[in-house]
Symmetry: C2
Subunit: 152 residues, 2 copies
DNA sequence: TTTATTATTGATATTAAATATCAAAATCGT
DNA sequence: ACGATTTTGATATTTAATATCAATAATAAA
């Protein structure tokens, strides 16, 4: 099995476990949204509206509210993360691996979002937190500026 | 002159210069909001609503819209920065010095916001940006978790 | 399998923050 | 002081997020 396929199964299990733990129900809509999101938006940062529009093509009966609620569920169960890049719309991103933590460079000209990871930054900030007796749950680093295309 | 007083003058000059450059007008309201904001909210992270309520005490005739617009002006002129800590409300913070860049640890329990600065992180991310030919305008790092008071 | 219980769905309504509008008032160059 | 331009404050509008609720679907119990 490829690592990607394996990760896919893990994600599914994580979600199912969450559903079970919270005594929620497994539904056709949730399955559909799960598949759409994780098949088509890896490495992307999709808004609720965008995902809803995408799903509507093949599943016109699924409502906006369900997409909205299901993305929240993905976030709560830890298989997706919610991002906010300052345009007022929440964006959702599939979490690729449990360990890797990446960050974003956002081009203020063209809106392109580049991802990066840096171990040194990670360890630095953990150290800072430790020094302040701060128990880290989550963190985000965003760099705003011009990408190589846009800075002429 | 104390460093704080000096910085105060510089900030005033920066703002006046911006007003002049953009051919805007200097008004009583802007002066009032300037003083309130920079005298009472150093190191704080105030929402428009909060600042408006504060100002209303002594200056009941100043409207919400003016406070809102003036904070935007402070941001545009580079003397304040806008923050977003995930509660849906924009927060404004006076910029203390031109060089120092600090970040935030936000306690998800009590809402307390702690500031920190770390040169190593700064240089790391500049390096990452350089590697990607990304022209940095701005960046933010936020750590979410529990402060020492709230973690048990 | 049938029924009872509980959660979900989709349409719509509500909320809340951000922003737009506009007539009256204030500022500023001449 | 005049005239052009900007600002102000009240209010309206927009937009994303979230709440509501009757109808429906999923699961548990009988």
């Amino acid at each position: 099995m490829t690592p990607v396929a394996k990760r896919k199964m893990e994600r599914r299990k994580t979600f199912n476990d969450y559903i079970a733990k919270k005594q929620l129900k497994s539904t056709k809509q949730r399955d559909t949204i799960f598949n759409e999101f994780f098949n088509n938006y890896m490495g992307k940062h999709v808004t609720v509206e965008e995902l809803y529009e995408g799903i509507k093509q093949n599943h016109p009966s699924i409502g906006f509210a369900t997409v909205y609620r299901t993305l929240k569920l993905f976030k709560e169960s830890g298989i997706a993360s919610e991002r906010n890049f300052g345009d007022g719309k929440a964006r959702y991103e599939p979490i690729r691996s449990e360990t890797e933590h990446h960050h974003h460079m956002i081009c203020t000209e063209c809106g392109q979002i580049m991802e990066f990871a840096n171990m040194q930054i990670e360890s630095c900030l953990l150290q800072v937190a430790k020094l302040n007796e701060f128990d880290v749950l989550n963190h985000k680093l965003e760099i705003y500026g011009k990408c190589s295309n846009c800075s002429d």
